[in-house]
């Protein structure tokens, strides 16, 4: 039986007193040669330093033009590629010691997070993802005008993050574009801190918590929800809510009484006893949790409902008190939603965009271009499937004491409830993955730590190393695969800034591909920015960009006498990566001749043409 692979459970569990995920003292350092293991205590330090040195060497040899269509990993040098295994091995070797040094694990983890999330900002030198620049436009508008300038813009109606960053920008007199590139690194470091605290409370054993953080960093790296965005911010705050709930509001479930109690009894059997707390502390915890939740509600449209789903499941399982907390959070969310419902209705088809979870989970519709994009997509789909399967298997093999894993399991699978209501513009499945990943990582890591093999077959640590490296490199391919497309150069950002400061207000700006650092100016709303309807990923696509008369006719219908057409390195990369829109290269070649476009701005990465219609 699979569960027999796990180390023997102590009597406390079978007696129903419960304990966290694993409090079993681990005999991880070799029993046969403890002195030998201690003699090798310098190896993790050496590997950590080696990993950091390899990464610095590797990154210094990389530049934007060296990143090809298959992404950063495929284009990187050996130094860069070897840095990650060195860091992971250093981490796991330290974790394997009888008494792992927390400072070294922490430093190693920080180095790994810096290596994962610092590479693209260092190579390209500008914030990644076109949609970050839309966020920068909102921040600039708030910092410049100090009030909502565009009530029809959904971002401006959920202003908490944008206002906070605008305040930082105003206080420091520094433009947000100059520090936005580092947001993923900052958010990941903060997430790791909170997750470590939660994992310690849920898992008990430090070793499990550390391993779960390592797995999480690999699992979640590809999903790309840690850039400067309300999602990243509200996710961080959601983790703080979980921490408060787990620390002060957790309780032992009632297993006797009504029908519901009898139904949930097998699910919560063996649940660990919550930490000691007082009535006053619980009251303060409810206040803190509600304040943080209000910040989440004012920052992001989806996260409040992800939180409600999780709190709802924990309340139904009677693992969280007070029960009215769920009602309080729902009132806060709905009270904020009510006056803004029209915007939600326009953007996402209302609170319930569709009741089919399969349709809602289908992801963004678009072209699936054979080659780099399709391969990377397959890798991350496989990673997601393995993560959920691993988490489910971890729950299954603890079926005799489900209470030990009931909280991480509830948090891991409750995000799926959102799929019964929302597709979130095709993004829902990615958010489900994001909110599920930490708890799946905890479940899988606890299983890895507890796995027991025969003494002649010491496979636990080789297996752990293989799992960690496979997860990390799959996640890295997901993150770095589209780097050439998603990242911009400072020249492209400068071109965009030139555009907004040099062309007349009210001008028409035309983009053949929706992949340019546009809309980052405070007055973004004073310009008419249009993307050619030629990309299936953006909805209706009927225009063939190679057909110049069709392009000219479409621009004419927009009702301007002058148009500014922008073409750039990142647009070309996007068209090549996704295989859409078609005809982009022909369009770029013929703008000066067939369309008669005059160059008004040009650098190595961007050209802006002015067309008189």
């Amino acid at each position: 039986m699979i569960h027999q692979l796990l180390r023997r459970e102590p009597a406390a569990v079978t007696e129903g007193r419960g304990r966290p995920l694993d409090l079993v003292p681990l005999d991880l350092a070799s029993k046969r040669s403890p002195r030998g293991a201690e003699d090798r205590r310098a190896i993790p330090i050496v590997l950590t330093l080696l990993g950091a040195a390899l990464w610095i060497t590797g990154i210094s040899l990389l530049h934007p033009s060296s990143v090809g269509i298959w992404g950063l990993l495929a284009s990187a040098n050996a130094w860069f590629l070897l840095a990650f295994p060195a860091l992971v091995l250093g981490f796991l070797l330290e974790l394997r010691r009888r008494t792992p040094r927390g400072w070294l694990l922490g430093l190693n983890l920080i180095a790994l997070i810096v290596a994962i999330h610092g590479s693209v900002p260092i190579i390209f030198g500008a914030p990644e993802y076109a949609w970050v620049y839309k966020h920068l436009g909102i921040i600039s508008a708030f910092a410049t005008y100090g009030h909502v300038t565009d009530p029809t813009n959904i971002y401006q109606q959920w202003p908490a993050l944008f206002a906070a960053v605008a305040a930082i920008s105003s206080l420091a007199h520094v433009a947000p574009v100059s520090f936005a590139a580092w947001a993923p690194l900052a958010f990941e470091l903060a997430d790791a801190l909170l997750l470590f605290a939660i994992f310690r409370l849920l898992g008990g054993e430090r070793r499990t918590a550390w391993l779960a953080i390592l797995l999480y960093e690999g699992l979640v790296s590809w999903v790309g929800q840690d850039y400067l965005s309300p999602q990243a911010f509200s996710y961080l705050l959601w983790l703080a809510m979980v921490l408060i709930a787990v620390r002060w509001l957790r309780r032992s479930p009632t297993v006797t009484g009504g029908r519901l109690a009898r139904l949930r009894a097998p699910l919560v059997a063996g649940a660990p006893a919550p930490a000691h707390t007082t009535k006053a502390m619980r009251a303060l915890a409810v206040v803190l949790l509600s304040v943080i939740y209000f910040a989440v509600v004012a920052a992001h449209q989806l996260t409040p409902y992800m939180a409600l789903a999780a709190v709802g499941v924990l309340t139904v399982l009677d693992l969280l008190r007070p029960r009215w907390l769920l009602a309080l959070l729902a009132v806060i969310a709905l009270a904020y939603l009510a006056p803004h419902y029209q915007l939600i209705s326009q953007s996402f088809g209302g609170l319930f965009s569709g009741g089919s979870p399969i349709a809602n989970a289908s992801g963004a519709r678009g072209t699936y271009h054979a080659g780099a994009e399709a391969t990377t997509a397959q890798i991350v789909r496989a990673l997601a499937a393995v993560m959920w399967f691993g988490a489910f298997a971890s729950v299954l093999i603890r079926r005799k004491a489900l209470g030990r894993v009931v909280i991480p399991a509830a948090l891991a699978f409750s995000p799926f409830l959102v799929l019964f209501a929302q597709s979130y513009g095709g993004e829902a499945i990615y958010r489900v993955f994001l909110f599920s990943a930490p708890w799946c990582a905890l479940l899988v890591s606890s299983t890895l730590v507890e796995l027991r093999f025969p003494r002649r077959l010491p496979l636990r640590w080789p297996l752990t190393v293989c799992v960690c490296l496979a997860v990390l490199f799959a996640g890295l391919q997901g993150l770095y695969g589209p780097a050439r497309v998603d990242a911009f150069t400072p020249r492209e950002v400068a071109a965009s800034q030139w555009l907004y400061t040099h062309i007349p207000r009210g001008s028409l700006i035309v983009m053949p591909v929706d992949n340019f650092p546009a809309l980052e100016a405070a007055d973004y709303n004073d310009f008419d920015l249009q993307v050619m309807p030629s990309d299936p990923q953006l909805g209706a696509s009927w225009l063939d960009e190679a057909n110049l008369s069709q392009v000219e006719n479409w621009i004419t219908t927009l009702g301007h006498r002058t148009a500014y057409i922008v073409v750039s390195r990142s647009m070309a990369a996007s068209a090549a990566y996704y295989g859409a829109p078609r005809g982009y290269e022909q369009l770029v070649a013929k703008i000066p001749t067939v369309l008669g476009g005059g160059v008004v701005y040009q650098d190595a990465d961007t050209t802006v043409y002015r067309l008189t219609l």
Binding site: H147, V148, P159, A167, S169, H173, R200, I244, L284
Partner: protein, 124 residues
Amino acid sequence: MTQIRLPAARLPTTTSRTIPTAYAGILASVLAATVLLGAPWPAASLIGAFLLCCVPAGAGVMCWVDAGEAAAQAGLTLAISLASVAILSAIMIWTAAWEPHALLGLAVLSVGSCAYRLRHGEPS
């Protein structure tokens, strides 16, 4: 002299994490305010602004509450600070009363809370 009895004074705090949190709150508040009001370099001002957003408000609360684990104490200090700054900034936007320097008030409140915590020591 009658002492004001704060609700948090009945909480089971220990000095192991709350006292360092109080010191961190005072240090971060003073440093952030000094840098923001006095430093001529944008890079230093940026550090000061981030410090103001990441520590004082949370430290002002968490110096009274022991989360039981250093990482939890630091994480909640950070999250409460960020949430406070986000809510106050959003209120300034909603009311069209944009005055980012008002956030320095968080530093003042934090110093007051942390100093009170240190002065009165272990709660009864």
